[in-house]
Symmetry: C2
């Protein structure tokens, strides 16, 4: 890890970042200049002015998305602010192009105020064909995404939520096949109910899982837990927005979709007892060998905290885990967002969709799971360099 860090810093320094602007047409002589710039460009401007939808034929809007962050939740490193977020957003843009052929430009915002983020993204939206929100902390990310989806006519997705949940569901689909379990019967615990945990829970409900409980750093989440009963939350800068507590909303959604929510009180050690599936989007080392042993037979462990998972794979295995997945590339079953976002936006651009729907994400997860022709316990998800992934995921977005 130390060497990777050092090498990564050296690489970023050598190139001053990871992306650049390249011309698609040459400007080598007077004729090139006449066509690419004045006077020829004026006719292109007027074409769009007369018929605004031509902007998708005549400009980069056709294939360009924004990767937008306020730097409030950079990887697992916390609130690094906009400058500290740039290397991740550049990386994302690089992967969008490399894997999906999608042009993406990083926008790192000098504000963490919900209304200002929304206003700013709306103001810069004309040049973009889609918005990928990134590393914006919960619960602000929910409001930012909801409003931008409602107020823009281009697809908007918070990748920490939906990209992650697509990859997790894909992994679960193949895991259930191997365990010969049915989605209606398995008991799931999700540990960590921020952006990713919330979106995972919602997508699993949409797919048809029937028994989900939630846990966070305060322990199992119940309707009666002190901090959950409140109906509104303070967002950034002490402003209180009229949004419901998203954890309470999520419990209500689980009850509505499944008819039940198990109000197990206590810590993770209590709540995990008798569960079939652990999904961790929380913190390094919070899942112990004993906790895994208290789960039902052949437990499925998705320990996705980065860079150090909730439990190391060797310990989980010793405790009897049937399938273990992490976010890391040095263990089998890497649940990596890069399997999701390039194909999701590739599909959105190619099909000219205006908004993403949960059904698209479920379908994307199924297609992604289908990329593994013969799943086994060490191969539930394709690798990031599998050439079939982008096409398969993109085909789900329509």
């Amino acid at each position: 890890m130390k060497n990777i860090n050092k090498e990564s810093i050296a690489l970023h320094k050598k190139h001053a970042g990871k992306i650049e602007i390249a011309g698609k047409i040459p400007v080598k002589n007077r004729e090139d200049l006449l066509l690419a710039y004045t006077p020829g460009v004026g006719a292109v401007c007027l074409e769009i002015f007369k018929d605004p939808k031509k902007v998708y034929d005549l400009t980069i809007k056709k294939n360009m998305i924004a990767v937008v962050s306020d730097g409030s939740a950079v990887l697992g490193l916390g609130n690094l602010g906009p400058l500290g977020a740039i290397p991740v957003m550049e990386g994302k843009a690089l992967l969008f192009k490399t894997f999906g052929g999608v042009d993406a430009f990083p926008i790192c915002l000098a504000t963490q105020d919900v209304e200002e983020i929304i206003k700013t993204v709306k103001n810069i939206a004309p040049i973009f064909g889609g918005i990928n929100l990134e590393d914006i902390s919960a619960p602000r990310c929910f409001e930012v995404e909801r409003r931008l989806r409602a107020e823009l006519d281009i697809p908007v997705m918070h990748d920490d939520q939906h990209g992650t949940s697509v990859v997790v569901l894909a992994g679960l689909i193949n895991s259930l096949k191997l365990r010969k379990s049915r989605k209606e019967n398995v008991k799931i615990i999700i540990n960590g109910v921020g952006a990713a945990g919330t979106a995972i829970a919602k997508l699993l409900l949409c797919y048809g899982f029937k028994n989900i409980i939630l846990c966070d750093s305060q322990g199992a989440i119940t309707e009666t837990r002190g901090d959950i009963g409140s109906t509104s939350l303070d967002l950034a800068r002490g402003k209180s927005l009229a949004i419901k507590n998203p954890k309470l909303e999520l419990i209500n959604m689980i009850k509505e979709k499944t008819g039940n929510y198990e109000n197990v009180s206590g810590g993770l050690a209590t709540a995990i007892n008798g569960r079939d599936i652990f999904i961790g989007v929380s913190k390094a080392g919070v899942l112990t060998e004993e906790m895994v042993k208290s789960m039902n037979a052949k437990p499925i462990i998705f320990a996705m905290a980065n860079p150090v998972p909730e439990i190391m794979p060797d310990i989980a295995e010793r405790a009897g885990a049937f399938i273990i997945a992490t976010g890391r590339s040095d263990f089998p079953n890497q649940l990596n967002n890069v399997l999701g976002f390039p194909g999701i936006f590739r599909g959105a651009i190619d099909k000219k969709i205006k908004q993403f729907t949960p059904e698209m994400f479920v379908c994307a997860a199924e297609k992604l799971a289908g990329c593994v022709k013969k799943p086994n316990v060490n191969n539930i998800i394709p690798g990031p360099f599998d050439k079939n992934v982008v096409k398969a995921v993109a085909s789900a977005i329509k």
Copy 2:
């Protein structure tokens, strides 16, 4: 022209715009991914978080500027809005890279409100090393530029103002050599006092010209003309900002710097009488043969309205013009912004300057003029493909 328009539209359609995002480092295997993205990228983020100035070593901020427009004054075509402005801003980004090696990304804003423009640009500034404002109508452009210069720690330039004025001054420097005139003695009339005209007047004053009068579509501008005496102007959306009338401010600046402003009343035909130099940044065909004949001997005519100049070169020549320059590439002496902006920002980035000053622009004009080794009446300014231009202009920004 018809063919150029058609060809330009076809070219834009073929490529869906003119620029794209390209990776500077490969992502071909697991090791590449570890360094470009997680986990290696986390160390880069923390380096910047600990020492924010490292953002210039480790990210695209080092060489990336924004080309920002609200689409309110696109070329000479008027208020086309943000979508209609995209082809020009993309073109500018293409030229920044092609001529100056500067990465530039087009931002077209869905607002024309001065305060919102300022707020939005400030909010997206973290990823950029400089801001090139473009095609924002006067007088709003003055306030937008002034405030962004004051409130950002990266160089900000409105190219319609300063890029244009640098190229005009360079052309004038060589023209005076050929006419054997001294800057202290020539009488100048500037026709058109929007963004470009205002900036040209200011830069000429800074260089040391002593006799400048102004003219707009209402005729010669005097301190007593009805619309000039007012001290504040309504800006967009009916809001009145506490800024002075920029034309009155300009007259006051001329008086302060030269000790005099000639209050000639009447139209252009009256005002131009006895002048040595005509600088037009106004409208097609407003300068007649008779007006040129009423000027002093060997008049210098810079007729820069685009695409049709204030007077066609053959008519100006017939009327006795000594030197004629336009914005067009199909006549000699093309005064083209592309001679200015790539080198100006190349220099700003390389020298890590925080703000542009008028002295830098004067020096840039002198360096640009110096690129023409042996000026003659048909060769007062280098061509856009002259390889020495960017280096010469960049050397002035320090």
